[in-house]
């Protein structure tokens, strides 16, 4: 059973297939409105059907791969770091509305650089401050974008 779950075409295609079914039925709940011609639900339903067919092909491909014992070649990635980065970005999104751009960005940059092993704190902290202030002055002052 394990090789079924490890095949990305099979799993990914199935997820997309389920998604297209969901998309189709959600589209049917869109109110018709009073227009002559195609209702607002028409194009989403059309797309959902196409996606359904395409993802079905991918599922079949996945099954073929499993039966043939082959695998989709995908580069190994460090998902842990990407996940941590994602959490950091979400934290940034909330923090910068309260702490303001400068403070949040400096803290964010220091944390990301630590995560990417950019070097010692003595090096990272000044770099983070310089980048933040440069961005703040170029965008906020130079191009008059109101950063909080």
């Amino acid at each position: 059973m394990n090789k079924w779950f490890k095949n990305r075409d099979f799993i990914g295609g199935s997820i997309l297939l389920i998604f297209s079914v969901w998309f189709y039925f959600t589209a049917q709940t869109i109110p018709k409105g009073n227009v002559s011609g195609m209702p607002p639900s028409f194009f989403p339903s059309f797309l959902a059907i196409i996606l359904g067919i395409l993802s079905f092909i991918v599922v079949i491909k996945g099954i073929k791969q499993i039966l043939a014992g082959s695998q989709l070649k995908i580069e190994r990635k460090n998902h842990k770091n990407v996940f941590l980065l994602f959490l950091l970005l979400i934290a940034y999104l909330f923090a910068f509305q309260y702490l303001g751009f400068i403070v949040t960005t400096i803290i964010y940059l220091i944390l990301v650089m630590l995560l990417l092993k950019a070097g010692k704190l003595v090096k990272i902290v000044p770099i983070s401050i310089i980048i933040t202030l440069a961005v703040y002055y170029i965008f906020g002052v130079g191009f008059k974008i109101p950063l909080p």
């Binding site: 990305r8 075409d9 990914g12 997309l16 998309f23 589209a27 869109i30 409105g33 009073n34 227009v35 002559s36 011609g37 195609m38 607002p40 639900s41 028409f42 194009f43 989403p44 059309f46 797309l47 959902a48 196409i50 996606l51 395409l54 092909i57 991918v58 491909k61 995908i74 580069e75 990635k77 460090n78 998902h79 770091n81 990407v82 980065l85 994602f86 970005l89 979400i90 999104l93 910068f96 509305q97 960005t105 964010y108 940059l109 990301v112 650089m113 990417l116 092993k117 950019a118 070097g119 770099i127 980048i131 933040t132 961005v135 965008f139 191009f143 008059k144 974008i145 109101p146 950063l147």
Partner: protein, 502 residues
């Protein structure tokens, strides 16, 4: 008439401020192109928010500069570290890197610069002469033709990006699904908003693009951790001699023409153009076996074609509103910011802007030549910037850029969301570029499909009875079926080969 308009556009571009912006655009473009992991498309996506505060002409011309510089910049890292800094530079690595290894890195960059320049100028000239005619023809296009063009564009990009046509199409359809979210433009009925007020206007275009090209790339780079490289070659003697340039002239001109043609096909861009040009140069060469060992011909073929794409890709983008490649797709955002709609009407209502783009493109190529020949050493040194610091910096730019459009934190959330979506899609080998084209073409496809079916009273046969749409749809089917056909042909040949050898 043409001359007058060009002269007045020259006046606009040669204002010190516009000129400075264009020069900055080209330099930034070369930087983004040269640094592996940062692409021309990313450069355009990150700087689009700035065009918001600029005059439309100045801002768009700056993006054109980033575009030219970015496509060219990819050759620098292709030569020095054998990583194309931008996908279009892939074929340049084949001959550029071996040449650099022999200690001729400067020369290799010189060849790349000159052939990029010639390819770019050829494409600019074709753009100037072809676009007005195409715009006139496009005036007669109705909903049927436009829908067929959208389908055709999506199928081209799906067949050239990623390793499977089906997956490319999936990515494109998901892109179109993204555009469905928000209020329906005819009835104002909310669709897929699930009661969220923030989604009524749909997913804002520019944050989506920054997410797919800035944030996604950032996450991918961090995930793959393959940003450790070191430049060891010395870069000197950049400017090649006139006789050397003459020898390459025929390859370069052919590359420029091929690039322009491929670029003008909606959806097909630099990587495929340089591949075709390299292949045809090798096949017609007297010494095809030398290709790949580090000969100037290979560099010239690849670089002239990928810069030839720039002018070519602008043709369908300006005349039809259908981008010729990924970068021009993102560039459409700058038009939207200023409420300009590319298409045949742009040539009538905003002719001055169109002419500024012409002049800007020519000038961008000249600046690219100067910067490339003078500054190659400097750009080579920039490759040694530590990515551990550069990547976080880029991520801050993605945040500021998406916030800048409406000063709304929701846009940052959209940007991060699409970055993550792009990352997850790459885990399934679903390419990002068709999705972008889907997002660009979605509203156009929907409006014209509904329009066409309104004309035909619901009959789909209308797409087969109109000649232009019929031709485009046949081409689409051929593109989709090609892998199966060519696979079947190969099998047949293999079988025949087996029987004869027995």
């Amino acid at each position: 008439m043409l001359v007058e308009q060009i002269l007045s556009a020259v006046g606009v571009i040669f204002e010190p401020y516009s000129l400075l912006l264009l020069a900055a655009g080209v330099a930034l473009g070369i930087l983004f192109g040269a640094i592996p992991g940062l692409t021309a498309t990313m450069g355009v996506a990150l700087l689009i928010p700035l065009t918001f505060v600029l005059e439309p002409a100045a801002g768009i011309v700056m993006l054109v500069g980033i575009y030219c510089g970015g496509i060219y910049g990819g050759s620098i890292s292709a030569v020095l570290v054998s990583i194309p800094g931008t996908p279009s530079g892939m074929m340049t690595t084949l001959d550029g890197y071996p040449m650099g290894q022999r200690g001729e890195a400067g020369k290799a960059i010189g060849y790349a610069t000159i052939s990029s320049f010639i390819g770019g100028i050829i494409s600019a000239i074709i753009l100037i002469f072809a676009a007005p005619y195409l715009a006139k023809i496009a005036l007669q296009f109705g909903p049927v033709e436009y829908f067929a063009i959208a389908v055709f564009g999506l199928s081209i990009i799906s067949s050239v990006s990623g390793d499977s046509f089906v997956k490319g199409m999936i990515s494109g359809v998901i892109g179109m699904m993204v555009t469905v979210v928000g209020m329906d433009y005819v009835t104002s009925t909310p669709r897929f908003t699930f009661g969220t007020v923030a989604l009524l206007a749909g997913f804002t275009f520019i944050p989506t693009m920054i997410g797919l090209f800035g944030m996604r790339e950032f996450l991918l780079q961090v995930g793959t951790e393959n940003y450790k490289y070191q430049v060891e070659q010395k870069v000197d003697k950049v400017i090649p001699s006139l006789s050397e340039i003459k020898k390459l002239m025929s390859i370069t001109i052919r590359g420029g023409l091929l690039g322009t043609f491929v670029g003008a096909l909606p959806g097909a861009g630099g990587p495929i153009a340089s591949f075709i040009s390299y292949d045809s140069a090798r096949k017609s060469s007297k010494h095809p076996e030398k290709f790949g060992t580090g000969i100037p011909d290979g560099i010239a073929a690849s670089e002239s074609a990928n810069n030839g794409v720039t002018g070519g890709a602008l043709i369908p983008m300006l005349t039809l509103g259908v981008p010729g490649d990924g970068v021009t797709a993102v560039m459409l955002g700058a038009f939207m910011v200023h409420n300009l709609r590319p298409g045949p009407m742009l040539f009538q209502n905003n002719a001055d802007l169109v002419f500024s783009i012409y002049v800007g493109l020519v000038l961008a190529n000249v600046l690219m030549l100067i910067f490339g020949l003078m500054g190659a050493k400097l750009f080579a040194r920039i490759l040694n910037l530590p990515m551990e610091i550069l990547l976080p910096f880029i991520s801050v730019l993605t945040i500021v850029g998406s916030y800048a459009i409406r000063n709304n934190p929701v846009d940052i959330a959209i940007m991060i969301g699409f970055g993550l979506l792009g990352y997850l899609m790459s885990e399934l080998k679903l390419p990002a570029i068709p999705m972008v084209l889907g997002i660009v073409l979605g509203p156009m496809a929907e409006a014209n499909l509904r329009g066409a079916l309104l004309i035909s009273k619901g009959s789909w046969l209308i797409f087969l009875t109109e000649p232009i749409s019929l031709i485009l749809l046949i081409l689409t089917v051929v593109l989709g079926a090609w892998p199966f056909l060519s696979g079947a042909l190969r099998k047949k040949q293999e079988l025949e080969g087996n029987t004869t050898s027995e």
